[in-house]
Symmetry: C2
Subunit: 197 residues, 2 copies
Amino acid sequence: MKTLENLKNCFRKLQGVGPRQAERFTLHYLRAPEAEVAALIEALLEARKNVKYCTECFNYSEADLCPICADKSRDKSILCVVQEAKDIEALEKTKVFKGVYHVLHGAVSPLEGKNIDNLKVRELLERVQNSPIEIKEIILATNPDSEGEMTALYLADLLRGLVGKISRLGYGVPLGAQLDYIDEMTLTHSLKGRTDL
Amino acid sequence: MKTLENLKNCFRKLQGVGPRQAERFTLHYLRAPEAEVAALIEALLEARKNVKYCTECFNYSEADLCPICADKSRDKSILCVVQEAKDIEALEKTKVFKGVYHVLHGAVSPLEGKNIDNLKVRELLERVQNSPIEIKEIILATNPDSEGEMTALYLADLLRGLVGKISRLGYGVPLGAQLDYIDEMTLTHSLKGRTDL
């Protein structure tokens, strides 16, 4: 049936959604109460209309400034650079970081044809150079994989000289893990970064 | 952000979609081209407007009769009862079955509070009783799990006397499987149902 195929193909565009899941979504929305479909459409349109980038950090925001950048108690001299907006949520849960963020919206990835022109890197440099207060430290919190690593090294090169300190998240064994399941690179890092007791 | 939370909560209603996948879907639709969002909304509305149940077999259909029921070459004296519309697709791929279907839209499940009143069972009985031609056989092709099994036994009770033959899909080892990975119930069935060579 063409109508159902159309809807299924829409869901196939979502990353990680295969033919079976797309079919399940399609049947779900065929059977769902009218109100649920209306709510989805409304939420989609609202999100598209109201959500934009924060003009400072490029996090998603409904206002010009996101709640974090608008918060006067945050320390604007420490910048934490992340790949995706959702990384901010994870870091905020630690309640440890009191600085502000900068969202790159991706990582350098030659395979996917993504270079720094597709990321908010120029904006980061401008932000650092034009900052009204001195930026003391930039934490490069890109993902601990090859793309995130490459992006961090690249940014470190660009930022060197502009800020006093450039740092990277510490590597090591994650809490709750079992040693025999941890890859050797992580273990190497955890040995090098061992702390005194 | 409330707008994004709203959209995320919409996706959480989909079966099997957790918080992370809902978040990925949300970000996907924030970044997607305008045309993709428009296509999704259009496909949703079209599906809701145009797709209804086939009046004979309760498969999804854009016309009063689904393509299978409308096909004059199909044998209407053999009825194959399935739980879900998507099961029809799987059975049609075999190209072996030339009869028609009846979709229950679920299985009896006391745990989920689903009894025969929520299924197209009354419609099945009416269909059998009012059929212009004699129905010779009903194949109960519900799933080979406890709920499908229970549903099949229940239907067999109800249909006994109304049709000449009531059958169930054959159990056994699936092709391409490795014996040591197959559960003992299936193996028991495959031994009982062994065929001469």
